[in-house]
Amino acid sequence: MDAKELIARRVAREIRPGMLVNLGIGLPSLVAGYVPASLGVFFQAENGVIGLGARPPEGMEDPHLTDAGGGFVTAVPGAASIDSAMSFGLIRGGHLDMTVLGGLQVDAQGRLANWKVPGKMVPGMGGAMDLVTGAARVVVAMQHAARGQSKIVADCDLPLTSLRRVDLVVTDLAVIVPREDGLHLIERAPGVSVADIIAATTAPLIVPDDVPEMILI
């Protein structure tokens, strides 16, 4: 299993029956593939649909029905079309139960940076700032390191997405819960030791005596 699949399968376990969930583009969008239909979860795509369904069969795509990355999708029975004002009204107004977003950095205060690398890459924040500010629960799904550098850092040196402390960070090495007193390591990936995680992390971690292995869907 590759790192992305591992992260997506672990994040999928966070999703409860009946939730309204927004998945960011890229890695987070893989999570939908591991959420059983029986949970009755509704996925929101912030570009305008509640009740996002899987990719349609070849030849059955509709140019009016895409996800936030511009890829063709379907709609489940009971789906609703919404405009951008309603979409972000749901997000900012606290009606979204969970968002899963990618990250460039998370710091010791649990703050996320994911929209800009000054001078290098400026994709823009898109919906990320509203999602992190407004969603009831914010889950960051990202690789633990990029080009050998820890993405979990003492202080973000990249521009912040929000002052809000995210609720959970899931990486290919670990599951971390940011709390007021710091970053709590609560799970490790299969075959990864606590020492491996500490070595790969520049932020200080709070480590309990027992750090169980991730259970995956």
Partner: protein, 220 residues
């Protein structure tokens, strides 16, 4: 509704240097015939307000490639490296706005509100130069309303009064922009006689729309 126009005639109405809102999200729900007509006319110096610039060769991405845009107010340019390159080279002045803030600023402009009080962006780069207002013990950024000389919309169905319906994820910014352009021009997949669209199905009342594009193939 004042009349139906060819794309070329519509593009001629929009002078160089105008401010233009353009509906769409990654080119879905963008007025593609209008965009092509602006490129064909060689429009210059436009201020474009839009969610994103799609990708090179698609939707608003064509305006970027053709050099029509001097200033851009948008939420996301991550899938268009040309926009990023022109921004870094100083060819396009880009204001990045959180998507939910962008849509509310446009709505505020359209519905006559003086601004938007949002928690989004507090304590980030987005806060720079903005007033922070405290209401009931919570702090909010004061974001200013946006209006434009033109709003260019895409709809699924229109009638000849200018009533508009949108389809699925092609709604996006179109309904709010319909309220915030001094002149509103809409292109629709189909145009039906007045009375065919049920009142409850209308998403943008025709009183907001100044011009429709003639149906594809008519007068072009």
């Amino acid at each position: 509704m004042k009349g139906a126009l060819t794309p070329a005639a519509a593009a001629d109405m929009i002078p160089d240097g105008a401010s233009v809102m353009i509906g769409g999200f990654m080119a879905v729900g963008s007025p593609l015939r209008m965009i092509d007509a602006l490129v064909a006319r060689g429009a210059r110096g436009l201020t474009v307000i839009a969610n994103d610039t799609a990708m090179p060769g698609r939707g608003i991405g064509r305006l970027i490639t053709a050099g029509c845009i001097a200033r851009l107010i948008t939420s996301h340019i991550g899938l268009n490296p040309e926009t990023q390159a022109k921004m870094i080279a100083g060819e396009i002045d880009v204001e990045l706005v959180p998507q939910g803030t962008l849509v509310e600023r446009i709505r505020a402009g359209g519905v006559g509100l003086g601004g938007v009080l949002t928690p989004t962006g507090l304590g980030t780069e987005v806060q720079q130069g903005k007033q922070v207002i405290e209401v009931q013990g919570k702090r909010y950024l004061l974001e200013t309303p946006l209006r434009a000389d033109f709003a260019l919309l895409a709809a699924w169905q229109a009638d000849y009064l200018g009533n508009l319906c949108y389809m699925l994820t092609a709604h996006n910014f179109n309904p709010v922009m319909a309220m915030a352009g001094a002149t509103v021009i809409a292109e629709a997949d189909s145009i039906v006689p007045v009375g065919v669209i049920a009142p409850d199905a209308v998403k943008t009342p025709g009183v907001l729309v100044d011009h429709l594009l003639l149906r594809s193939g008519k007068g072009e």
